[in-house]
Amino acid sequence: MELVTEGKITDIKTLENIAREVRINILKMLTAAGSGHTGGSLSAADVAVAIYFSKMKFNSKDPQWKERDRFILSKGHAVPLLYAILANAGYFSPEMLITLRKMDSPLQGHPCCAILQGIEISTGSLGQGLSVANGMALGLKLDKIPSRVYCIMGDGEIQEGQIWEAAMTAAHYGLDNVCGVVDNNGLQIDGPVEKVMGIAPINAKWAAFGWHVIEIDGHNMKEILNALNEAENTKGKPTVIVAHTVKGKGVSFFENKVEYHGIAPTQNELDRAIKELSNG
């Protein structure tokens, strides 16, 4: 997969295999780094893989191609996921992945667009990606370029007020080229989202803000693809996909464990995790 100008992989098995490779790379790079965010990188993996490889137009050899679709990881701490995808898509060599979080590496602990092609905007301070996505969507509409902008947010992240400012903006300007995803894994650093600061009802909130809302199982590739198609065909308003996910998805001993929000696997855990994923 050297050069991808059109995602357009619609075969579910192929996408699931890419997601498995991406998960293994996430765990390898986190283990090599010795720190980083495991749980939220794994929970969003299936949706992100589907967006990149089944829907997005891009060219890794021409990262600034004007007509590309854009992907914003608003929950920037899940950046190992994005790096693993970009390496898979040919933006840089997969060998670079193990430089994550190391000095002099463009693979910073949180995404930095000024030093790594393929990163559309720097994130890490939560709540900011959707506003940037809206700005891109407005610019694309002004230029009459039919590209789309995808923005993945965490469920804890939507506690940020700026998300709701941006939610109003996207609806107000009818930004149907924006597709938001809420990675609804139910956990944030301090514990269950509903215990730390309840955000329920998520769907009703987005709907009240003028968005088309699609609720899916965020690990079911078929449901993900259907939702992405529905989003693309929804005109006049932005769409948000509320993806029910499992934090740490794919590795039994990481799943639904709040402790693995912000720590990396040990070498032993990595070996066991790869075995599990390979057999999956």
Partner: protein, 326 residues
């Protein structure tokens, strides 16, 4: 001192013009630029009548985006527009632009190095009657601390217009601080602003006043009086606070015994801070800072407040004499 320029010569060219607010010059310049360049877009957060972006909005509604009362979203949206090749000008009051949206400016403008022009109005104490909540006295300190951004404080309408033209062609984050009230013209009609180039009205042998914004006019009045009283005083308009014009600063310091900074901002972290940082490391010299002395403002007319906080030529004169005595 072969390069002495009489400040009175410069002012003679502009005395026939009526005072004008820098924000008005901004609104008019944006409108003109909008006619020439289709890549300019303008954002505001419900203050377009005050920031004067409403002129652009009326002429080019498809390129104007009102974000409502949401400064953080405005800055993020501006960054997104910049990333599609637009030149976004995002405006609101200085206190909201830099305070409310500081983290957004830090992350998606400065760290991301996006081509966003943050042009804030209602900077400083001359906001007046609205009081302290609306008087930005720390905006320059906040912006100056961020890497990648250029910080500019124009002195009058002529300079504002030139600044807005210049930063349209410059690629990178810029913060421009404008004011609410009408201010006299101080810059020559043919003046062209260049980022990082101070405008030296005159170099004094005893005192040099490094001023920005409305304080340039006030500094000139002080300099004339001091010079007439035998204390040879020069004035530099340091409109680019960052990157500061080190060459002109050094020249002024080497020529004189005392440097006075004058700004409509806290004495902490703004022009005074920038000048002290540079001079203390490169040419230690006696410095006095005129500005707001680490307090919040209050309601009052601009003139009353300038007097209350000592942003006057009288205070500059007194400060100079007091410092030279020691």
């Amino acid at each position: 001192m072969g390069e002495r320029i009489q400040s009175t010569e410069h002012r003679a060219q502009t005395t026939d013009k009526k005072p004008k607010a820098t924000r008005d010059a901004y609104g008019e310049t944006l409108l003109e630029l909008g006619k020439k360049r289709s890549d300019i877009v303008v954002l505001d957060s419900d203050l377009s009548g005050s920031t004067k972006t409403n002129k652009f909005a009326k002429a080019f509604p498809e390129r104007f985006f009102n974000l409502g009362v949401s400064e953080q979203d405005m800055v993020g949206t501006a960054a997104g527009l910049a990333l599609t090749g637009k030149i976004p000008f995002a405006s609101t009051f200085a206190v909201f632009e830099t305070g409310r949206a500081f983290d957004q400016i830090r992350l998606v403008v400065c760290y991301s190095n996006t081509n966003v022009k943050l042009v804030a109005t209602h900077g400083g104490i001359t906001v007046g009657e609205d009081g302290a909540s609306h008087q930005a006295l720390e905006d320059i300190a906040l912006m100056r601390a961020l890497p990648n951004i250029t910080v500019i404080v124009p002195a009058d309408a002529t300079e504002t217009s030139s600044v807005i033209n210049e930063i349209t062609d410059y690629v990178g984050p810029v913060y421009v601080r404008l004011g609410r009230p009408k201010v006299p013209y101080v810059m020559p009609d043919n003046y062209k602003f260049k980022i990082g180039n101070a405008y030296v009205f005159r170099i004094g042998r005893d005192v040099n006043i490094i001023a920005a914004g409305i304080m340039v006019d006030i500094a000139q009045k002080a300099a004339d009086i001091l010079t007439n009283q035998g204390i040879d005083t020069g004035v530099i308009n340091m409109s680019t606070i960052k990157p500061i014009d080190e060459k002109s600063l050094l020249r002024a310091a080497k020529a004189s015994k005392l440097i006075i900074t004058a700004e409509e901002h806290s004495v902490i972290g703004g022009l005074g801070g920038a000048v002290c940082e540079f001079l203390s490391e490169n040419y230690p010299i006696l410095v006095r800072r005129i500005g707001i002395n680490d307090v919040f403002g209050c309601s009052g007319s601009p003139e009353e407040l300038l007097n209350l906080y000592g942003l006057t030529s009288e205070n500059i004169i007194e400060t100079a004499k007091e410092a030279l005595k020691k």
